[in-house]
Symmetry: C2
Amino acid sequence: MIGIADVRAAAQRLAGVAHRTPVVTSRTLDERTGARVFLKCENLQRMGAFKFRGAYNRIVQLTSQERERGVVAFSSGNHAQGVALAARLLGVPATIVMPSDAPASKLAATRGYGAEVVSYERARSHREEIARALCDERGATLVPPFDDERIIAGAGTAALELLEQAEPLDAIVVPVGGGGLIGGTAVAAHGVASNIAIFGVEPESGDDVRRSLERGEIVTIEVPQTIADGLQTQAPSPLTFAIVREHAVRIVTVSDEDLRAAMRFAFERLKLVVEPSGAAALAALLAGRLALEGKRVGVILSGGNADAQRYAELI
Amino acid sequence: MIGIADVRAAAQRLAGVAHRTPVVTSRTLDERTGARVFLKCENLQRMGAFKFRGAYNRIVQLTSQERERGVVAFSSGNHAQGVALAARLLGVPATIVMPSDAPASKLAATRGYGAEVVSYERARSHREEIARALCDERGATLVPPFDDERIIAGAGTAALELLEQAEPLDAIVVPVGGGGLIGGTAVAAHGVASNIAIFGVEPESGDDVRRSLERGEIVTIEVPQTIADGLQTQAPSPLTFAIVREHAVRIVTVSDEDLRAAMRFAFERLKLVVEPSGAAALAALLAGRLALEGKRVGVILSGGNADAQRYAELI
């Protein structure tokens, strides 16, 4: 199982490569929540989301032979861009399997980082199979979105920085998709101070981790219908599930309306662009889903990739 | 004439009151401009703009008798909110003279900070006269938007912080309305290092400072037609004009299209909400109006108060 040493090693690999993103505070937010809130702006990270951290920490550890053969990933979202950018920086060929109906802006951004994009039709094919076939064919390495210790350790570096910037914290709240960010966050935070409470936030319709924790085993759900397109995972992996259990992570859920309200608050009061998934932790706090009055609370704004028109429509 | 000591004294008064706003960098921006750019995020300042700094530094220096009698300001924009918030924090009654057709959100925000709003019809009355009449009637103090050494010194604290955060800088670029921000910036920067080039950016139709510098005397222009509503001044004041001359400030201009492009870049690439006026310095850099390749350049993003619908329309 990964530990704080893995997160610290990842932080060293990322030094000078990833942005040390700012931590923002807001008196309005503090008044509204009764807590002292520190917002870790991973929406200001390279390629616009924390995903760069894990992707880079994975790809930089490939052997020279593996680097030559390249990497493959499947994603319609931020993981695609994170892998594409990390691979480009390291001179590694990257192929990203993306659905043919992915937003043109995301396809363009992924290609813009120099990756080859392989399209597939959602109805007809299974993206993971296509990715695995490409790996077999080319001897390439699959970079999964969260089910990998190096990805998780990389994601954990955001919380490590947040703690350096805003110590001491009583709690850290992060969005939960497949569990990579919350896993890394829990490992990093408890490596620094074991009394920090770790809260994960899922969309109401995408509460696979909450259900799995309640049941004590991995529960697989239907594809969640939510505006939080980065949190539409159906189940944690055995690895991420083991970490969230071990670290006593607590899960709360938010509605799409809560996410919209948080995006509105971010735009109007914080002047920050946060995508629906990236706003989940802030949404839980604003919606009163957490009893953290009087506490020092770190919140990760995990991503900001949303186009302006869509943003205006959502809020 | 004000000097660096005034700016440092203002910084002490603002410590723990104003946000020490973050400085953000972007490799995409550096690649696009050929410079190493440091963005000082005054859009993340309290009430959403640098204006809070000057207003607070003015109001905190009132005598106890003056405080009791209150302050008056005229503004349809960020100065209104800056004065309202600073006055509230200091327990000083504030009256803001605003046009009756000001955006509902700005009226609400100003009232939200506890200020009394006096409306007037643009066509019928002159706001400065109304404000002065109120001051006479109540013995209140007028807080002007820029024509005051304490306002200018307060504005200069943004550049002072930027230099602490990103030293050394070869140049600093800021938006220019009435000259308060650029005046304070020049005083602060040249107090730290006299070789820093200071650039001001005006809208093409609102180049009163550029013309005044060229002519060697204050030139008054028609009310500028531009989306940069915070930069619609018609002339610098004798005080701000004297400062920009003394500090050899250079002015460049940008079109509304340049401003829109900068707002789009801020939203999509920087994940920051910047209002049209606040994007002027970034716009000049992106539009290639400045020859700063290979230089370390500070840019002040001076404000972020724009609603989402308007933002989407503009970009």
